[in-house]
């Protein structure tokens, strides 16, 4: 084979890159610094061979070149057989991850259908719901002086809010919460995998039942928007819509959990910064949120397929080649971020890539920011002296999919409850959802939620 055909002449910059190993998590900063300095755009032989973009400039230019990049996951081999956004493609993935594994125009039409539920104005209407949910989660633990910030707060609030926005009964949140998180952190060879499969099947059954029920008898929410969506002149099939629902759930649950847990862990280790953030929150909360997003990059990257021969960021690519865009590594590029491996709560010019870039930018970013900020400030207000327990803290073993945490136990000075417990609060929020039709798009309902006590 000639060098041109094998690509050897183009693949001069090489790096053995495997983000799925525990080694990558343990040596993330060293590996990142090495790639940024020596090969910000490298060819790796791992997983069938793929490009890895680590540099901020390289990721920026590539991610915004939608005309040469495809997100398509061609599950039924109807188009060019592209493998979607996951490298390697998991054996168990039998359907597209919604519009994140589609190209325009279908991708754009899905987003247009969902934007009026997820824009800043649409999300702001849910703020009172989030406040009340967080209040109830903290009330469950406030008298004991002990909490697990993952299990008791950061897993719970994003899950319940996401279901509310979708139009799924909130009491079903336990069907969805555990399997969604466990699917991210459970290795395929784990003895827990069989149990997890059963829980996932139960969850998909409920998703399918919700979709069928909403088609039969509409109720407001993201699922209703999907059921009524006109995608390129057709009504999508149920399997395609289940993929979109799974994308919303996957995007809505574990990412915000991961960000919140990491931020609370860091603030617990830096009590002076915690006090400063609490005191100066009016001026500091926005920049601190962006800095935690940059530093912890909950979703560390996305795969793409090169859809046409091209040259981008000084590198020639060939149609069909796979590419990993590392949001996490580009977020540590010293060319853009001064002291990139330090957290600076007041950082300015923070052009981080944590929500992705270009046409696939995270559609739930406004939800993530709002929920994160409320969870952090509520903890600062009600558990200001919390101390995390490093012995009980469990990070995900690998950070190839989500940089998350399984447990973050903490102790604090007990305080008084402020209201009802979680179950009762969920019922009150469900009533508000039903009576005020909170999950309508902002084009239909502009007013914020009102939660009675």
């Amino acid at each position: 084979m000639s060098d041109e055909a094998s690509g050897a002449d183009r693949r001069k910059s090489r790096y053995q890159f495997d983000r799925h190993t525990p080694d990558y998590r343990h040596h993330f900063e060293a590996i990142t610094a090495e790639m940024l300095a020596q090969c910000p755009l490298a060819w790796s032989d791992t997983y069938g061979g793929h490009w890895v973009a680590a540099g901020h400039r390289e990721v920026f230019e590539l991610a915004r070149s939608a005309e040469y990049l495809s997100n398509d996951h061609d599950v039924h081999h109807e188009r060019r057989g592209y493998q979607g956004i996951t490298i390697p493609t998991p054996e168990s993935m039998k359907f597209q991850a919604g519009f994140l594994e589609m190209d325009p125009p279908e991708q754009r039409q899905y987003r247009q259908a969902l934007n009026p539920y997820l824009s800043p104005a649409a999300v702001a209407r849910w703020a009172p719901v989030v406040t009340e949910l967080i209040r109830a989660c903290l009330d469950e633990k406030i008298e004991t002086g002990q909490i697990d910030f993952v299990d008791d707060l950061a897993n719970v609030v994003p899950a319940i809010l996401t279901l509310a926005m979708m139009g799924i009964p909130l009491a079903h949140w336990t069907i969805y919460c555990e399997p969604t998180h466990a699917a991210v952190y459970t290795p395929p060879d784990s003895p827990d995998m069989l149990r997890l499969r059963d829980r996932q099947i139960e969850m998909y059954r409920d998703m399918f039942a919700q979709l069928a029920a909403i088609k039969e008898q509409p109720r407001p929410g993201l699922i209703d928007a999907l059921a009524r969506a006109d995608i390129n002149g057709r009504t999508p099939q149920d399997m395609e819509l289940l993929g979109v629902m799974a994308l919303i759930i996957g995007g809505g649950f574990d990412t915000t959990t991961a960000l919140t847990a990491h931020a609370l862990e860091w603030l617990g280790e830096h009590p002076d910064q915690r006090e400063r953030l609490s005191r100066e929150r009016a001026s500091l909360l926005d920049s601190a949120t962006e800095e935690f997003l940059r530093f912890y990059t909950p979703a560390p990257g996305d795969g793409r397929t090169i859809s046409a021969d091209c040259e981008i960021a000084g590198q020639r690519f060939q149609e069909g080649e796979r590419l990993w865009l590392s949001w996490a590594m580009s977020n540590r590029d010293p060319a853009v971020f001064e002291n990139p491996n330090q957290i600076d709560l007041a950082r300015t010019g923070n052009r981080h890539h944590s929500f992705g870039l270009g046409i696939h930018r995270c559609i739930g970013s406004n939800v993530a920011r709002m929920v994160f900020k409320q969870m952090i400030t509520a903890v600062l207000d009600r558990m200001p002296d919390y101390r995390c327990d490093p012995a009980g803290t469990v990070h995900y073993e690998t950070i190839g999919v989500i940089q998350g945490m399984r447990h973050l136990p903490a102790a604090f000075t007990p305080g008084p409850r402020l209201g009802a417990g979680l179950d009762e609060t969920i019922q009150a929020i469900q009533r508000a959802c039903d009576e005020q039709r909170l999950a309508e798009p902002v084009t239909v309902r502009k007013a914020g939620a009102e939660i009675g006590h």
Binding site: F60, R64, Q112, N115, P116, L118, S119, P120, A121, A122, D286, E290, T348, G349, N350, R351, H352, H353, F355, L357, G358, I359, R361, S365, N366, V442, T443
Partner: protein, 67 residues
């Protein structure tokens, strides 16, 4: 100073409106940004410069000139 947001580049990250809420407004439906007015008040210039530096898509441009 005049400010312009390229609607083709803007993807609705909303950082500009966080940094300079009096200069940028976000669309209710898709959250994409546009300037409230073309001319930037002198007291807002520093924040607009910071918004330019912070935009993940580099969608904001400024031209110097009398307000």
């Amino acid at each position: 100073m005049k400010v312009h947001v390229d609607p083709e580049r803007c993807q609705g990250h909303t950082l500009c409106a966080m940094i300079a809420p009096e200069v940028f407004e976000l669309d209710d439906i898709d959250g994409h940004s546009s300037p409230v007015g073309e001319n930037v008040p002198a007291e807002q210039e520093a924040q607009v410069m910071q918004a330019v530096r912070s935009c993940p898509e580099q969608a904001i441009s400024i031209t110097e000139g009398p307000a």
